[in-house]
């Protein structure tokens, strides 16, 4: 698949230990531009840890991670620069509660990208419109519903114009009626060709938007393939087991 497209992420033999706890056991993976890679697997499999190693919110214990060709584990790599190319959306939103929705979005472009106040404001409003929240620009996070907060969080990540976005269970903390509005925003991003890594168990979304599924269990990728292959004809018994539980 897509070997002619740019290689965005290359993971080579990634291991992660927490003290003696071996959480990631030698992962290898390549992600190309505009791929939407869904990661599923039981709780504790290491999905979050894997995502967080990719922008070094966790330090990898062993192995190599190349983001757009840059080895981020090398000591002379400026990790802050790499992180500006990677958007991250968390399960618990993590909006800044002392700032309005618009200020949340403007913060990084102004302070990291050194964008002018005016340009940041303009882009912030555009992004709020894109996620359907233009009238909430001056609302504080605690005045927004969970779904609205998560959409602001996505807009905040997009404000840095990242080359890829990671989603770590973006809808797990949401009430059922708010899940759709967030998934719609993600769907649109996928259609626009954004490179995405998504930990999610929203099978409907995965079937529709994902180009590839990775199944993680016990720190290993036990199965990999298109949604059709993995969801319809799971090969590994643990995948079958897991899918029967969540569908």
């Amino acid at each position: 698949m897509g070997e002619d497209r740019a290689l965005m992420i290359e993971v080579i033999n990634l291991h992660k230990y927490f003290k003696d706890h071996h959480v990631l056991k030698g992962l290898n993976q390549k992600v190309y531009k505009s791929e939407v890679v869904a990661m599923i697997g039981p709780s504790g499999a290491g999905k979050s840890t894997f995502l967080r190693c990719l922008n070094r919110l966790e330090e990898p214990s062993l192995g190599k991670i190349l983001i757009e060709g840059t080895d981020i584990t090398a000591t002379r790599t400026d990790i802050n620069k790499v992180r500006t190319e990677i958007g991250m959306v968390f399960q618990s939103f993590n909006l800044f509660p002392h700032l309005t929705a618009l200020q949340n979005i403007k913060l990084a472009p102004i302070n990291v990208r050194r964008m002018s106040e005016k340009d940041a404001e303009e882009r912030g409003r555009q992004l709020l419109k894109k996620v359907g929240l233009q009238e909430k620009a001056n609302a504080y996070p605690d005045q927004l519903s969970g779904g609205q907060q998560q959409r602001v969080a996505i807009a905040r990540a997009l404000a840095m114009q990242p080359h890829m976005i990671f989603f770590d269970e973006p809808t797990s903390a949401l009430d059922p009626e708010m899940i759709r509005e967030v998934l719609d925003v993600m769907d649109n991003l996928a259609k626009e060709g954004m490179t995405m890594l998504v930990v999610s168990h929203e099978i409907g979304f995965i079937r529709e938007a994902a180009t590839r599924i990775l199944v993680l269990a016990d720190g290993c990728i036990i199965e990999e393939g298109t949604p059709n292959e993995v969801l319809k004809h799971p090969q590994h018994s643990r995948t079958q087991d897991f899918l029967s539980k969540i569908v």
Partner: protein
């Protein structure tokens, strides 16, 4: 529209005021207004038969006074313990017992009130000029002392807060070597009594070739002492911010210092405002310790005037000045604290700006 004084019964229909018997029929005799009113008039009348001014000589008279006081206490107790009595009546009763006690004490304690007033509340001595070879009155001297006290507090608070904040931010870098020294700093200055530290800096440092003026020694001492406490306050505030805030900031590419300045501290400062304010109240009080190194702040001024005038009135006046400044400050810090408790931190913010 007429405000309805008595809520109509839930069955509705009957809008007439209930009769006296219906309203108060269930009240026991000793809580009735007839009884309490009669007792009040009786106590009022008996007051005229109390012994004359001065310390009573016989036990019998003491007993008479005690019985009278207990009777008033009984009357007040009935009113205060009755939930049906209106609040204004309870307030009057409470004030009355204080007044009666004060009045009895004034009459029969045998105190020489004229001498007491001359000693402790001698306002003439305070306002007279030239009584001790000075051209200004003691009042002016005290106000000058208060001004110096406020200056000492102001600079100690500013420097202490800045230093405390720096220590807290350094602590947050989680560098083991740095933390070791920070822990020593904080423990040392929290453990050493302020008065000892102040005397050490003022009287012992000159032997090391470091001579500091009184005011500088005072401010330095209070700054060092408060930096330890304030850094702990800031540290608690910083640690109270959810770690997800740091992760979100770092994922956006903010540096450690940007994360601290733009995300953590703005949230932490709102959390620490109440404890910080009560710390400032304590610091203003602690400036009184500067009197041991001959700084003419409010307390030292009062003590000096007391010995010059051979009269303790300046101390009483200084007390009044301290209270005048500190009670509003203490109240303000309580208000801050209650406001934080009543509304979530971010909610308080939202209503202020949004």
């Amino acid at each position: 529209m007429m405000p309805e004084m008595v809520p109509s019964p839930p069955t509705g229909g009957n809008k007439t005021r209930p009769s006296w018997r219906e309203r108060f029929g269930h009240v026991p005799w000793f809580r009735r207004y007839e009884f309490l009113g009669g007792l009040f008039l009786l106590l009022l009348a008996l007051a005229f038969f109390l012994p004359p001014f001065g310390r009573p000589q016989s036990t019998l008279v003491w007993i008479e006074i005690a019985v009278y006081f207990l009777a008033v206490l009984f009357w007040v107790g009935i009113i205060l313990s009755d939930i049906e009595k209106p609040n204004w009546m309870k307030a009057i009763a409470a004030v009355l017992i204080v007044l009666v006690f004060g009045w009895l004490f004034y009459q029969y304690s045998g105190a020489r009130w004229d001498k007491l007033a001359h000693a402790f509340f001698n306002w003439e001595i305070l306002s007279a000029t030239g009584s001790y070879g000075s051209t200004t009155s003691a009042w002016i001297e005290l106000l000058a002392g208060l001004w110096l006290t406020l200056q000492l507090a102001f600079f100690s608070i500013i420097f202490g807060t800045v230093l405390g904040l720096i220590l807290a931010v350094l602590r947050n870098l989680h560098d083991p070597v740095l933390n070791f020294f920070l822990t020593i700093w904080v423990d040392f200055f929290r453990a050493i009594p302020i008065i000892v530290l102040m005397m050490l800096i003022y009287y012992a440092f000159p032997y090391l070739g470091i001579t500091l003026s009184g005011v500088v020694s005072g401010v330095l001492t209070l700054t060092l002492n408060s930096s330890a406490y304030i850094s702990e306050i800031f540290r608690a505030g910083i640690e109270s911010i959810h770690y997800g805030q740091v992760e979100a900031s770092r994922a956006l590419g903010l540096t450690t210092m940007q994360t601290m300045r733009l995300v953590i501290l703005p949230q932490a400062i709102r959390v620490v405002m109440p404890p910080l304010a009560s710390n400032y109240v304590a610091m203003l009080k602690d400036t009184a310790i500067c009197s041991v190194i001959a700084i003419l702040e409010l307390l030292k001024t009062a003590i000096t005037l007391q010995s010059w005038l051979a009269n303790p009135t300046p101390l009483v006046a200084a007390t009044a000045l301290y209270l005048l400044i500190l009670i509003p400050m203490a109240r303000f810090s309580s208000v801050l604290e209650n406001r934080m408790k009543a509304r979530g931190v971010s909610r308080a913010l939202a209503s202020k700006k949004g």
